[in-house]
Point group: C2
Chain length 348, copies 2
C-alpha cells in the first residue's frame, strides 16, 4: 500500500485561483501489488511535473473552446511531466522506462492504453545525468517554445536587438541565451532585482530592467537606443504597448503568451496598434505543439548539446512534494517563481 496524493480541479475560478477552493489536494492509498492491468495499460510513478502559465486557461468551463482542453472538474489536473513505468501490460513500455508527456497530477496513475499514446519513452532523462527538472523546462515544452519562437517567428539576425519580457521565466532565459549566441543585443525585463542579477551575471544578457520599479519606456530608451527588432511577447498589456512604441521597422513579435492578462476578467486595452502598419510589424501568435514535428528533434539535439557544453545555463525553481504544486502554479501569476517552476514529486 502506497500513499497516492492527487491534485484535483475542484471549481472554475474567476480571477486568481485559490488552493482548497479551485484546486484541491486529495489523499488516497494505492495497493500496487494487487492492481490488475488490462492489456495495453501501464502504471506510472510521477517524478517531475511542470507547472506553466497556460494552465490558467485550462481552468475554465469545459463548454468554452480553446487551444488546449479544459481540465475536468473533480479529476486530477495534468501537464507535462516525467514518470517511470512501474507496471506494464503494454509492449511499447518496459518496467523502469522513463516516459515524457502529459502526466496526471498524482503520485501514481493507472493509465489506460488510450492515454499511453501521448507518452514518449525518453530514457536519456534516466541515463544522461542532467537534472530531471530540465526535461520539463529547458529541454521540454517551454524550451521548445523559446526555440520555435526565436527561430521560426523571430528570425534573428546578427547585430539586431531583442527585448524579452518575463525574461527569467521558463521560456525567457533560454530565448536570451540563444539570441546571444546568434550575436544579438539582448535586453530582458523582470519583476525582481535578483532575477535581473541572474540574467546579467549568469546568462550574459546585455541589459535588464525591473518593470515593477523602473519606467519601461525610459529603460528601453536607455538600453535599446536603436530600437528593438524582436519583441518576445510573454506578458501582454502595457508591455506590448511599450514594445510597439520602441519597435523598429520590420520588427517581429513572436507571441506565445500574455501572462499579465490571464487572471483579468476584462483584458487590458492596447492603444497604439497603428504601429503594426506604420512599422510593418509581424505579430505572430503561436502554440509550440503545432511545431513539434517540424522542429522538435532539432531543438532537443541542439539545446542538449549547448547545456553539456556549458553554453546554456538554466535555472529551475523546484518545489519538493506534490502537495506544493497548487502554490507553485498560483505563484506563477504573481511572479513568485525564480526560474522554471517545477514540482519534484519523487526522486526515482
Amino acid at each position: 500500500m502506497v500513499k497516492n496524493t492527487q491534485i484535483i480541479f475542484s471549481k472554475v475560478p474567476t480571477g486568481l485561483p485559490k488552493v482548497g477552493e479551485h484546486i484541491t489536494v486529495q489523499h488516497s492509498d494505492l495497493d500496487i501489488n494487487s492492481l490488475k492491468l488490462n492489456q495495453g495499460d501501464i502504471l506510472i510513478k510521477t517524478l517531475v511535473l511542470s507547472v506553466d502559465p497556460y494552465m490558467r486557461g485550462r481552468m475554465r468551463d469545459a463548454s468554452m473552446k480553446s487551444y488546449s482542453p479544459a481540465f475536468e472538474l473533480g479529476k486530477p489536473m495534468n501537464g507535462h511531466g516525467v514518470a517511470v513505468v512501474v507496471k506494464t501490460a503494454n509492449d511499447n513500455f518496459k518496467e523502469g522506462d522513463y516516459v515524457y508527456g502529459m502526466i496526471p497530477f498524482a503520485e501514481y496513475t493507472h493509465l489506460p492504453e488510450q492515454w499511453t499514446k501521448v507518452l514518449q519513452v525518453r530514457n536519456e532523462a534516466r541515463d544522461d545525468h542532467l537534472p530531471l527538472p530540465h526535461y520539463v523546462g529547458v529541454l521540454g515544452m517551454p524550451g521548445m517554445t523559446a526555440y520555435v519562437g526565436l527561430y521560426k517567428f523571430g528570425q534573428p539576425k546578427e547585430g539586431e536587438t531583442i527585448w524579452i519580457s518575463a525574461a527569467s521565466g521558463a521560456v525567457g532565459q533560454l530565448v536570451g541565451q540563444l539570441a546571444k549566441a546568434e550575436g544579438l543585443r539582448v535586453i530582458g525585463s523582470v519583476g525582481d532585482d535578483k532575477k535581473s542579477e541572474y540574467l546579467l551575471k549568469e546568462c550574459g544578457f546585455d541589459g535588464v530592467f525591473n518593470y515593477k520599479t523602473q519606467d519601461m519606456d525610459e529603460q528601453l530608451t536607455r538600453l535599446a537606443p536603436n530600437g528593438i527588432d524582436i519583441y518576445f511577447e510573454n506578458v501582454g498589456g502595457k508591455h506590448l504597448e511599450v514594445a510597439l512604441a520602441h519597435a523598429n521597422n520590420h520588427a517581429r513579435f513572436p507571441t506565445c503568451g500574455m501572462i499579465s492578462q490571464y487572471n483579468l476578467s476584462h483584458q487590458e486595452p492596447v492603444h497604439n496598434l497603428m504601429n503594426i502598419v506604420i512599422k510593418r510589424i509581424q505579430m505572430c501568435g503561436f502554440i509550440v505543439g503545432d511545431h513539434a514535428q517540424e522542429m522538435g528533434s532539432e531543438f532537443v539535439k541542439r539545446v542538449t548539446q549547448m547545456i553539456k557544453d556549458g553554453k546554456v545555463t538554466y535555472k529551475d525553481d523546484v518545489t519538493n512534494g506534490i502537495e506544493g504544486l497548487p502554490d507553485a502554479l498560483i505563484g506563477l501569476f504573481e511572479g513568485k517563481n525564480f526560474g522554471k517552476a517545477v514540482v519534484q514529486v519523487a526522486d526515482q
Copy 2:
C-alpha cells in the same frame, strides 16, 4: 500662359483637416512657351491624381518619422498620379509620354532631374483604352496593396472565408474579387447601403453588411458562421476587436491601414489581443512599396488581363478638376467616396 492651380499643405492639422486652413487651393499662371528647362528636367501636365487615406499620415510635423515622408509646409502636396510630358530636356522621357509615380498636386509641374527618377513611363495608360483613373486605382498602388496583402500575407485557400473591411474602397473591392476567384467565401463591411448593393450585385461578394446600421458581431455570426480565416484590415479599432473574436485558428490578418484611427488624437483601444495567442493569428503590417520589386510586374500583368477579360470590375469615384481635390481627400475619412477616390485634373 496657362492657369496652374496647386494644392498646398498649409498647416499641420489635429483631427480632421479643413480646406482653406490645412489644405489650400492656390492659383497661379505658367508661361509654358518661355519656360527654360535645365538638362535632365521635364515639364509635366497632370492628368489624374490619387487621393488615399495614408496621406493623412503625411500631414504631420516633419520632425516626426514615419514610413512615408511628411508633406512640406507651404509646398504642393503630392501623391500617385499619371501625367503627360509636355516639354523635356531628359533622354528618358519623350514629349507625349505618359508617366506614373509621385506627382505634385498641381496642374503643371516643372520637375528637376532628381524627381524624374521616381517616375516610370507607362504609355499603356495612353494606348490601352482603359479608364485613366484605373492606373492610380486598380492598376496602381491600391490595387497592388490588395494583391500583395491577399497573396503574400493572406495566403488564401479554397473554401476559406475572408472578411474585408472598407470593402468598397480602393483596396477592398479588388481584394474581394481576387479572393472570390480563388474560391473563398467573401464577406465585406461598408458604411452605406448603396456600397453594399454594389459589392453584392457587381463584385460577386457572398455577404455584405453596413457597420454603421447593423451590429458587427451579429452580422459576422450570420454571414460567416464557420468563422473567418482572413481578415483584411483597413479600419482598426472596433472592427479589429470583432475580427479577433470571430477569427479561426491560424487566421491571417494582412494589415495595411486603420482608417478609423487616423484622425483621432488618442487611438481607440483593442481589448482582446489574447486571441492572437489562443488562435495563433498572424497579424502582419505591410506597406505596398516594400513589395513592388517582388510582385509589381506579376500584379500588373494579371490584374490588367482580368479587367480586359471582364473578370474584375472596379468603381472609381472621380472628382473633376483639381480644385475638388481637398474635399475628395477629406471625404475619405468620412466614408463619402464610393469606390476609389480619384481626381481627374485634365483629360489629356
